[in-house]
Point group: C2
Chain length 343, copies 2
């Protein structure tokens, strides 16, 4: 059942505003020459930035002993808490809650049935008490029973207007500007960038493709089960209530092997759920780079690590320290967190 919760709590997001910001920041704009010399302009001149640039320059230099052929330049990025925020709960949860409210018209029985009752009464304390079982019910009710296309349309419609409960901006605006620059920098150096997240794969595909510049086929995530139907000459894939794959912890390297068939050389995450993916990249025979985002900024974002229920970073932090992986100190390393701060 835990797995369902991960799927449920699992998230993803962002969108057009952020995307536009990214483009104007990275693209053609004013000081083009300065940007050419600095691929990561939203980063302070800190160790993490220097490490990244030194690595990329080394492994893309055909004279270097560490040169990596283009076909092997696979970079995998966790999403929640790594490419966009994940507090006070994975953003996918807010989608599920909003969907329940929307779907309630056709489900009068939800007024008295948990966990729907709590959701409809905006009683989050009571919702939390429903535990994993309640969360599974919520996910399955809102994420299945429709076709791939219908679900995609639901998510796209939702993200247009949904607002984060405390930041009061679109969830899709809460992407990390420095990470957008990193994705772009890696691609400019012929790395193939992937999202590998505990979040739902179709939920992510509906939102992040444009913002991150990552196509659907390079987005990997948790999945509910699906079924093929062929009726009246029409082929349809239906989303059914069951967990097909939990893309978290050891699920990440397993899914990377299944889907990509290559070990990443660059891996980035922010929680213990990413640790196995990090270890997998670290075992690459090519020189690899492991990057942890450490949430240290309680003013501009959130500060949490070893004790957090969401995005706990404990064992991962220990291994990063002992193995010399690069850790981003959000508060001190990043000039801005979100694209809208650039305006």
């Amino acid at each position: 059942m835990k797995k369902y919760v991960v799927l449920f709590l699992a998230t993803v997001f962002f969108v057009t505003v952020a995307c536009k910001n990214q483009n104007s920041q990275i693209g053609s704009s004013e000081n083009a020459t300065e940007q050419k010399s600095d691929p990561l302009p939203s980063w302070n001149e800190v160790k993490s930035k220097q490490n990244i640039i030194a690595y990329v320059e080394d492994v893309t230099n055909s004279e270097s002993a560490n040169f990596i052929p283009v076909s092997e330049r696979i970079a995998t990025f966790d999403n929640d808490g790594n490419l966009w925020s994940e507090q006070p709960a994975y953003f996918q949860l807010f989608f599920a809650i909003d969907r329940v409210k929307e779907m309630a018209v056709d489900h009068p029985e939800w007024k008295t049935q948990e966990p729907f009752k709590s959701v409809l009464e905006n009683d989050m304390a009571s919702l939390a008490k429903q535990g994993e079982h309640g969360l599974v019910k919520l996910v399955m009710a809102t994420h299945s029973g429709n076709t791939i296309e219908e679900f995609d349309a639901n998510v796209k419609e939702w993200i247009k207007t949904a607002k984060h409960p405390t930041k009061n901006v679109g969830f899709d605006e809460l992407v990390y500007q420095p990470m957008l620059e990193l994705l772009q920098y890696l691609r400019a150096n012929d790395f193939k960038t992937y999202v590998v997240s505990g979040g739902g794969v179709d939920f992510m595909r509906a939102i992040v493709t444009e913002i991150y510049g990552i196509p659907a086929e390079q987005i990997i995530g948790s999945r509910i089960t699906t079924a093929y139907e062929y009726k009246d000459g029409k082929a349809v894939i239906k989303r059914t209530p069951g967990l097909d794959f939990n893309d978290d912890k050891e699920g990440k390297p397993l899914n990377i092997q299944k889907i990509i068939g290559k070990k990443p050389v660059f891996s980035s995450g922010n929680s213990d759920g990413d640790l196995q993916m990090m270890q997998y990249a670290a075992s690459n025979s090519y020189k690899s780079f492991m990057l942890y985002v450490h949430h240290t900024d309680e003013v501009r974002e959130w500060a949490y690590d070893r004790e957090s229920h969401i995005g706990r970073l404990d064992k991962g932090l220990d291994q990063a320290m002992s193995d010399g992986w690069t850790v981003i100190d959000m508060k001190n390393d990043w000039k801005v967190i979100y694209p809208f701060e650039l305006e």
Copy 2:
């Protein structure tokens, strides 16, 4: 259990000789100008060829109402019987048989245990009598219990010397020259080419990447289960004895949705196992192209369809006829079958 058999019987192959032939055929060689005007030189001037070219020219023409953006140009190809031969049995079966013989040194008990006994005694009639249960045992014994890297090395070592039982050439030489040209033609027109096969994904990745010009991450197939291990600072993925996914029939569109997240616009297969993938492509809102290979050449290749145990084409042929899908008549449509015929 049937699913295991599919996994087991499922195949894949070819290699360097074929690859070199392909390159010399398609690449720089003698009559470059003629080849520029004819992207499919090993095809006779037949309806199937005309249909393919008319389709590609239409959907890549930005002035056409049927224009397809590059990001949506997904082309999926079955492998066994579609990109290389599959008679008298899926080539992966020969790998399993050869592995049993090689591994027998460490398994003296196999001399008296079925299905290994039959294999070691080259008694194929008796092996066939072991049925599905025997086949599953054979697959699991030869395809699991090692790491991803070890299995990859096994397959690569095997393909170097293994010979087809009747054609007496390497299995990797039994790829279809006209289909290599088609793959190349589609890629030259910005289609992303995928293999989507009932064959084992890691078996295929070990062999066909170079021959087909298709990277590991664009090869989709059946999979056995895997497990993540982290010991003494080393991350390893082990192949374990169980079926993880059967990439056949409705499994094909389901896997395409999971992994690619887009509907194909071009789909090619040769059996009823490909029918659902064809239907899925046919349901694309973009103009799509469905292509069946019909095995009609009992001299140069094999002739079989509705009654065959391997690669049965029955319902698929009916739907191709009724829905106007393109069917390749191997005997009459292809000037050569295999690359070595060009020499």
